[in-house]
Homo-oligomer: 354 residues x 2
């Protein structure tokens, strides 16, 4: 099989499978429900489920709809589902797969109950970021009561700290997680005091997974990026246990201009990488001393390596700065097996943010 | 027609058509070849051509292939086409549409000539950025000679200064353009002295169009973003003549969480906007004093407005920070006509960067 046209999103399938096996081994004793917002792909979701995952998480309804269409049958939607139109979509989805959605306000319950009667809901608890989630234990109880009264089935709580995941230093990261989890523990206690069973406590990510497992509070783990890793996680997690996943995701690019004395220009720029987390890293040994810089939407610059001159068409592999939004730019993974190109896998939920 | 699910890329078709008409009127006396890297859409390309454009530019082969499939029949590819595989694709494309490609190195000529004999090429001249283009007039001549000797047809030069487009202040911006264009003028003089006709001098963008037309050096104008505008261009161009285009592109979003005292959370984050050019602006009068902040990949925060409380599900329109890479995140424009939802248009070349 010949090399794909560039830029291409390259996935080392061997490293992917080892990462999936490593997390499945670590997560014994809890339910593993990897987050599909990272990979948006039934190909990877199926491999995670085959390795023992209970199902996957999705960030948005459209992501879940695409993966359900591709055969994934057990999904938790981790953002609140708001509005009658979206409640109707959740209802349609719940009629064909095992679905649960998070809820963080009592006013969201009537729409969901009207369009998806009996739907399983999970009370989203704000663990400190103020992004989504109930603000206090008494609001958790109010939302659970409203949901139950409307005819929804209250399964438990979600406690996810997105801002903890990239904290450098395993102990600092763990301490931030434990401090924030106090809010979720209080919400669980308040719900149980009101008679709610709280059989499911879902959360966690690639950065906090080791500490989440050690704390033993979560019953379900939601890591996403561990299947790929990226430059941002590599920088933050370094030699931590949480960082012990292999880089499996790359952008393959090519040199297309060599007229400048100090750098060359490649065919991968702002449209080939997300730019929210700094710069891509260069994965080629020959280019070890070089650095990448964004050169507009279509191009990147790479400082020239020591030694042999650079040829037009020379290929360079790069590590994306941030895996999730980079994956969201591509329609397919170009697979590598045993170091050789080995077909492709579709990214069915790419761009499906609604 | 009901409102689309959010986040959605909304295009005000009336403002779009007025922008297309304004640029077509201004560009009389030169050939107008708008850059399709901005819109990636045959729907918009067709409207530009109907208003007098000669064809469009594309940044990459895959973008051109998608628009050719959708019926666009005259395309200039503005990045060097490198490698036998890409030369073969250019050859296939040249057999079905009027195609020209830029070239900036003599070593690119043999592949192109072998796979696309007689292809029209344009010598790309570096006007100061060092991204692509020949470095000096004598290299322009060397590339033109190599191209002609290989059997390619040398049409002229490209002189595009991407870094000029967002300079604030019409005169400062024009001065940067004129200083850089000296390099292109020297290349044209050197090529003509060697007997090359140089019938086509292509370049320019939304930021420099007025100054490009005043200078009178370009024979073909390549503006892209004027069809949409964005927050970055609005900030830079302000009341300039170049800024006198209407905002036609928006991201429609919805409030999905209202538990924090100082802000609300909407369903549009890093996957809904490109993040290379700062923050989206808020287009709703009710939210005039509010500001948006990124709240991770899936969400945004918006500070609460003065006055009435915010409801779950309330819709907010935002202006993307940078139009081109934001368009590249969506599969379709949701059209507005006369202020009402009016169907959609596909973004055929979305994600086609290779």
């Amino acid at each position: 099989m010949t090399a794909p046209p560039t830029p291409a999103l390259m996935l080392d399938g061997d490293a992917l499978d080892r990462n999936i096996a490593t997390m499945a081994r670590r997560a014994q004793g809890v339910s593993l429900r990897p987050h599909a917002k990272s990979h948006k792909s039934a190909f990877i979701a199926r491999r995670q489920i085959a390795a023992g995952a209970a199902g996957v998480c999705c960030a948005k309804l459209a992501e879940a709809e695409a993966l359900a269409d591709a055969g994934i049958a057990d999904i938790l939607i981790t953002s609140p589902v708001i509005g009658a139109d979206n409640a109707a979509r959740a209802g349609a989805l719940a009629r064909r797969i095992a679905l649960a959605v998070v809820i963080d306000h009592d006013m969201a319950a009537p729409d969901l109950a009207a369009h998806a009667p009996g739907l399983r809901v999970v009370i989203d608890v704000d663990v400190g970021l103020g992004r989504t989630g109930v603000a206090a234990p008494q609001q958790a109880v109010a939302v659970a009561r409203a949901a139950a009264a409307a005819g929804l089935r209250v399964d438990g709580v979600q406690a996810y700290g997105g801002s903890w995941q990239h904290i450098a230093g395993a102990e600092t990261r763990a301490a931030a997680m434990r401090a924030g989890m106090v809010r979720a523990q209080e919400a669980v206690a308040a719900l149980r005091a009101e008679g709610f069973a709280v059989t499911r406590i879902t959360g966690g990510g690639t950065g906090t997974a080791t500490a989440d497992l050690a704390l033993g509070f979560l019953t379900e783990l939601q890591p996403g990026s561990y299947v790929f890793m990226d430059r941002q996680y590599r920088d933050a997690l370094g030699g931590d246990a949480d960082g012990a996943f292999e880089q499996s995701l790359f952008v393959a690019s090519r040199v297309i201009s060599i007229n400048a004395p100090d750098w060359v220009t490649i065919d991968a720029g702002i449209k080939a990488f997300s730019t929210d987390a700094g710069l891509p890293a260069i994965a080629e040994p020959r280019w070890a001393g070089s650095r990448y810089f964004f050169f507009g939407d279509e191009h990147g610059g790479v400082t020239r390596p020591e030694g042999a001159p650079v040829s037009l068409g020379e290929r360079i592999l790069l590590i994306p700065p941030h895996c999730d939004p980079t994956v969201n730019l591509y329609d397919r993974y170009r697979l590598l097996r045993g170091g050789a190109w080995a077909g492709e896998a579709p990214i069915e939920a790419r761009g499906r943010g609604w």
